[in-house]
Symmetry: C2
Subunit: 379 residues, 2 copies
């Protein structure tokens, strides 16, 4: 299920074998929050060529709804995507978006942020919904504690997260008992524990004992410094099994991804490329870096020198007739000027968000491609 | 410049020769209000294959601005479109969108609806701006009277419109004096006069005396009945020169276009297909009508039986797994289900508007294609 192809420092070039095909790692998963990568078609996602995308259980359970999702033939058919899909457990949005949360060992009760209806999500519910969605990699339900939090609360919380993880695993095994290996989805545990090393390690050890197909690192990039985040990744990756994939949830900026790969992380997802695109912030390679054919893993700690960003709203772009991105595989990014893209943003034409989304996802997926090459090339 | 290829009833199959290529008529021009057909790329417009598009002088003079437009190399280069572009004079939006209008024989003073800056638009200004934009077919500045209006006011107004038309023509001729015939844009007059037959005819006669490359009919579809509109078209088309194109501005629904073609109109533009698309109303052929291979010009007066519309928001579409449009040339409209399109609207994903825009423009342009065929086929 997870085969290491190459190692560099602690960076790993590997592949995850899912029932819907292989995922080459390190990988970045574009986010199809509400059953779509916002503003673009599945055909465009296919052109961007990620091996896997991510969708959000919380949003899908509200709309179209979990039973509706099943009746609609599952997420793959619904959104016209036949490669792997990873789903989160719904937990993160319950703890960040939903209203009136009430946590008990049984699960979490909450009101939807849309129509205020009451819902209840137990660990078993979360797995059941992810099954209905047709997820290929599922996540366990975890408590996402808002930081800063008292250590006592965190201690209690990781115990709950471990308890829920075990229930998810038991339910998952029960449901999958008749499934052939090639048809079985994968289930990942999620390490929590804030910035407390002992709790993080305790969380990792407990999850390893239960045994998962991969291990996610949750609760990072929530306000701590980049240095603090990297330090957690370092000791955690040493503790996590070498032969299972490691997934850093919700991270991050390009230089953070590079640093996390160096620490031994294999999988990433993040709203940054798509959300910032919709606000007119574009990501590009630093052409000097590319021309020098430098190995991206040999950059200084948290160095940003391999990329640049552009705020298209800036006045200086008003008459910039150079292409949005002369290196893009998308003709529309080569043909339209930056001045035109700026004009589309000023005019509030949704085409602006679409073009920027293509640009940023192409950059992020290109970055992962370069990372994979650079891990192998210097061995 | 305008060659009649075939006649049926009063319907004409013709072509307009512009400096950027030929336009087969009857034609429908998709509207690129702010230098873009909202939500779609120029490549997609090219796939839709209209011979000409329309853009709005008023919007372009505010953003990016008329001098900016020139500095940006004109509208064709800016929006990546090299076929003909027709521009309106700016008058219609000045009279419908702008604030604090003051009309004098000299022109019209107004405040922008965006930043409240004061502008002045004379007939000469309008032509000058359209030249800067790079328009291939320009419209004269006219007064667009809000109906109902007193006949006395209308009388005065068409005199002003004629006076402005003459000034536009004089200025246009002056600017074009050195231009070779093949490089010269075209200039159209605009007949006004509300529902007053004598004023409409007077307006038409005065404009003919000035002499234009084509004649537009303005001030219709502004609240009068369809019957009233068709009656104006009938007597006006008899009065307008046979060898010049006739353009019904801002019209309309598919059955209105068919009726106008039967009265002798050659050109159309309208926000309906694109605006309604963005609100989730989709246009389709009535398949029974198509299967019977009926001639569209032989339909009953104002008959709608050749098309259907669908409000995608309706609950009944929630589980409709049939394609958005199985006959479409766009793979995304064949691959995605109506249930999915509805979900995209509910999720407020701009992709919803884009898919619907493609569907409706494909219908409208297909309609014009069928009209052109049907004029010829029964001769």
């Amino acid at each position: 299920m997870f085969k290491i192809i190459a190692n560099k420092v602690k960076a790993r070039r590997a592949e995850i074998v899912t029932r819907k095909g292989k995922v080459q790692t390190p990988c970045f998963m574009p986010i199809a929050t509400k059953a779509a990568v916002k503003t673009i078609t599945s055909d465009e996602v296919r052109q961007l060529a990620p091996d896997m995308i991510l969708s959000n259980t919380y949003h899908l359970m509200l709309r179209p709804g979990q039973e509706e999702m099943e009746r609609l033939g599952g997420l793959h058919a619904f959104m016209d995507w036949d490669k792997p899909i990873l789903t989160d457990s719904g937990g993160f949005q319950v703890f960040s978006l939903a209203k009136k949360r009430k946590i008990t060992p049984e699960g979490v009760e909450f009101n939807s942020h849309i129509e205020k209806n009451k819902y209840f999500l137990s660990p078993e519910d979360s797995i059941k919904i992810q099954m209905n969605i047709g997820s290929d990699i599922m996540m366990v339900l975890d408590e996402c504690v808002k930081l800063p939090a008292e250590k006592k609360y965190l201690e209690k919380s990781i115990k709950l997260t471990t308890f829920w993880a075990k229930r998810c695993k038991d339910y998952f095994d029960k449901v999958c008992v008749d499934k052939q290996e090639a048809e079985r989805p994968l289930l990942f545990g999620i390490v929590q524990g804030g910035l407390e090393k002992d709790l993080r390690l305790e969380s990792a050890v407990s999850l390893k004992q239960i045994g998962f197909d991969g291990y996610a690192i949750g609760g990072l990039a929530v306000g701590e410094t980049e240095q603090e985040m990297c330090s957690v990744l370092k000791y955690l990756c040493s503790e996590l099994p070498e032969d299972k994939s490691r997934y850093l949830m919700g991270v991050g900026y390009p230089h953070q991804i590079v640093e996390a790969v160096k620490a031994g992380v294999d999988m990433f997802d993040c709203v940054i490329p798509t959300r910032e695109a919709r606000h007119g912030r574009l990501y590009f390679w630093n052409s000097e870096f590319i021309e020098k054919q430098r190995n991206i893993l040999e950059l200084d700690f948290l160095s940003k020198e391999f990329y640049t960003t552009l705020n298209i709203h800036n006045e200086e772009n008003k008459f910039d007739l150079s292409p949005i991105n002369s290196e893009s595989k998308f003709p529309e990014l080569r043909r339209y000027s930056r001045a035109y893209l700026r004009h589309l943003f000023v005019s509030e034409d949704p085409l602006a968000q679409r073009l920027s989304t293509l640009n940023n996802l192409e950059f992020y997926l290109g970055l992962m491609g370069k990372i994979r090459l650079d891990i192998c090339s210097s061995m």
